[in-house]
């Protein structure tokens, strides 16, 4: 059974600071997704990572994937208040398994304070 562990679960950080959210998973996978959720809203797709070594950046967020270590990171650079939200990583099993079943981490609730 695929397990996804995300940490930290809660993160309070000052504006302008950098931080990293970690997502570990337990079985072989080559497809990992990061989502953002604002309260009462849908899960908004941030990044789709499809290969070992994949790195994607959008604004102050950068995501990477290391399939050998079974680890993805979401790095926040110079945080601003607008980044306050809950961030989820989600993993699909290795593409050869034919499964479309996403397994989610518990989410990281990020609060950026002035």
């Amino acid at each position: 059974e695929l397990k996804v562990e995300q940490n930290p679960l809660f993160l309070s950080m000052q504006e302008g600071k950098n931080y990293t959210i970690y997502c570990n998973y337990s079985t072989t996978s080559d497809r990992l997704y990061w989502y953002r959720q604002d309260p009462g809203k849908s899960l908004e797709s941030l990044f789709v990572l499809l290969s070992n070594g994949a790195v994607k950046q959008e604004g102050r967020l950068m995501a990477s994937l290391d399939t050998k270590a079974r680890l993805s990171t979401l790095h926040i650079t110079a945080a601003v208040h607008d980044l306050s939200a809950t961030y989820f990583c989600a993993v699909l099993p290795y593409s050869g398994a034919g499964s479309y079943q996403l397994t989610f981490g518990k989410g990281t609730k990020l609060s950026v304070i002035p």
Binding site: V4, R31, Y33, Y35, G40, K41, S42, L43, E44, S45, V48, L50, F88, A90, L92, S95, S99, Y100, Q101, L102, T103, F104, G105, K106, G107
Partner: protein, 115 residues
């Protein structure tokens, strides 16, 4: 394009009653998924439709849950009779046929409270 639409956004029902949730996927998306987040827990997979066929229903918790996708368009998820532990947020998502390269588009969810 319109996103994934779910309604109602909130539902409060009594234990033993029936509730039906609806999801309208993005037009043309063959794949439709239901997920659920119970308070304090992870978002969990319930089932996956390809057009009108159930491809994977391994996450459905028990036979009180019935999902349908009429004509391969919108989907409904019925809970009958509802129990207290069914409370949570039910998400629907859709994706194009045959590809996971773009991720899944999620709706805003239906918050179900069973009292």
């Amino acid at each position: 394009e319109a996103g994934v639409t779910q309604f109602p956004s909130h539902s409060v029902i009594e234990k033993g009653q029936t509730v039906t949730l609806r999801c309208d996927p993005i037009s043309g998306h063959d794949n439709l998924y239901w997920y659920r987040r119970v308070m304090g827990k992870e978002i969990k997979f319930l089932l996956h439709f390809v057009k009108e066929s159930k491809q994977d229903e391994s996450g459905m918790p028990n036979n009180r849950f019935l999902a349908e996708r009429t004509g391969g368009t919108y989907s409904t998820l019925k809970v009958q009779p509802a129990e207290l532990e069914d409370s949570g947020v039910y998400f629907c998502a859709s994706s194009p046929r045959g590809s996971t390269n773009y991720g899944y588009t999620f709706g805003s969810g239906t918050r179900l409270t069973v009292v």
